[in-house]
Symmetry: C2
Subunit: 230 residues, 2 copies
DNA sequence: CAGTTACGCTACGACTCGTAGCGAAAGCAG
DNA sequence: CTGCTTTCGCTACGAGTCGTAGCGTAACTG
């Protein structure tokens, strides 16, 4: 859950514009005084954003179009999200909540299942249109990079940690000795899985077939001969 | 789709706008009749594009700004490239010409060298700003996708083929038996190397250190125990 | 020379962005 | 109910960008 329910409170605009500084600890019950924001409008806007992404792509997406499609005034849109980037992050982030670690009883099966889930996610038009463009903007906008990390990257990395822990509990992998090395190992495995699947689907433009998933998983498991059996 | 341009093709734009399949196969002499296009303007535009990418990023790059910086009329720009996407492909593609297969005498050393080269390339601001954005547009624009493939992806994939052939000549890898399987193996290795490095640098935002390169190369070489020795 | 094409320049319509102002609506505290 | 506050939809606006058209001039060919 990307902690973006009330995406931009009057203070959040400052957070987005200014810097990573002191956001007042307003964590509970902001004690609304006037007319509350319409939750229905939130949902309508995010749905409209996803639909527009799938139809028009990142370049064709305009705030005015989203507002019209969501049957909402453009002003309402800007009251919640400061720009297109933030809006799309929130619109796409929910898609990544679907990713789950299945725990199928073997590391091989778990990896294959996660790869298949991720491949299905990347096959969606709204994902394709948004993900790379978001990453591109994220290389220049540190705020945006943080939000992408929290809403999209971290949920994925969590799966790697879960699968690894499960395999350790089963005895398939050795328990951690050096915690620092463990983090590095998780990072490299995560970048490998996510990067390879993304490159295959979004750059090479080739589909992720079960056969491909089998071969790729085999490549990952070769370092562990006892797991690499077909 | 960019509508058919008038000529749009004095040599540079031909490889650029290779989309135009109906272009006469004038591989020899197009018989220039009027005033020739300024090659200096071509270089100035591409240089200005790279500089502007590094300074302003993809989102901040405007055709007008590039034209001004290149000391060229905006019209001259549009005479050669139909849109920002095509211009940036050509501006960035030349960077990938630097990639070479060193042939250092062992597959491990070759892979590490190529990874290091690619990492250096991705560390450049103009690459970071452009590459992911281009890939994003390429998921919707088939013409652009082809140009990216030809100008950027294929040069990279060629390195994998070269390194693989060299390793086979050395006897480190078995010769090809099934040519179809060989292509698939090259594809999966290529997507793994390119995707992982891209994800590490552009998404995770972590640098590619020699130590990381060593570990990642080790992961790739595990399937070949005789090569996996440190 | 004439013929052809590229060039720089200006101007334009269409579009998007993000903001401001307005009156009306929807909550909350008394 | 009556204020008070905030959001809502709507209209309008300035700024900026896009891609194109028209014009006179420059450069190169035969």
């Amino acid at each position: 859950m990307p902690a973006a329910q009330p995406p931009m409170t009057p203070e959040t605009a400052e957070t987005a514009a200014a810097a990573d500084g002191a956001a007042p600890a307003d964590s509970t019950a902001p004690r609304a005084k006037g007319r509350p924001r319409s939750a229905a409008a939130d949902r309508a806007i995010l749905d409209a954003t996803r639909e527009a992404l799938a139809e028009l792509g990142w370049g064709g997406l305009t705030m005015g179009h989203v507002a019209t499609r969501a049957k909402v005034a453009k002003t309402t849109l800007y009251r919640r999200w400061p720009s297109k980037n933030e809006l799309v992050v929130d619109a796409v982030a929910s898609l990544f909540d679907e990713l789950v670690m299945p725990d199928l009883g073997s590391l091989r099966a778990d990896i294959e299942a996660v790869v298949a889930q991720f491949a299905d996610l990347l096959a969606r038009p709204e994902s394709q249109a948004a993900l790379l463009a978001l990453f591109a903007e994220g290389t220049r906008d540190r705020q945006l990079h943080r939000r992408i990390r929290e809403a999209i990257v971290d949920p994925q990395k969590r799966l790697v940690r879960q699968g690894r822990s499960a395999a350790q509990a089963r005895g398939e992998l050795a328990p951690d000795t050096d915690p620092v090395a463990a983090v590095e190992e998780i990072d490299i495995i995560f970048d490998t899985i996510a990067g390879t699947v993304e490159h295959r689907v979004l750059v090479s433009g080739e589909p992720i077939t079960p056969e491909w998933t089998r071969r790729f998983t085999g490549l990952l498991l070769e370092p562990f001969p006892s797991l690499a059996t077909d």
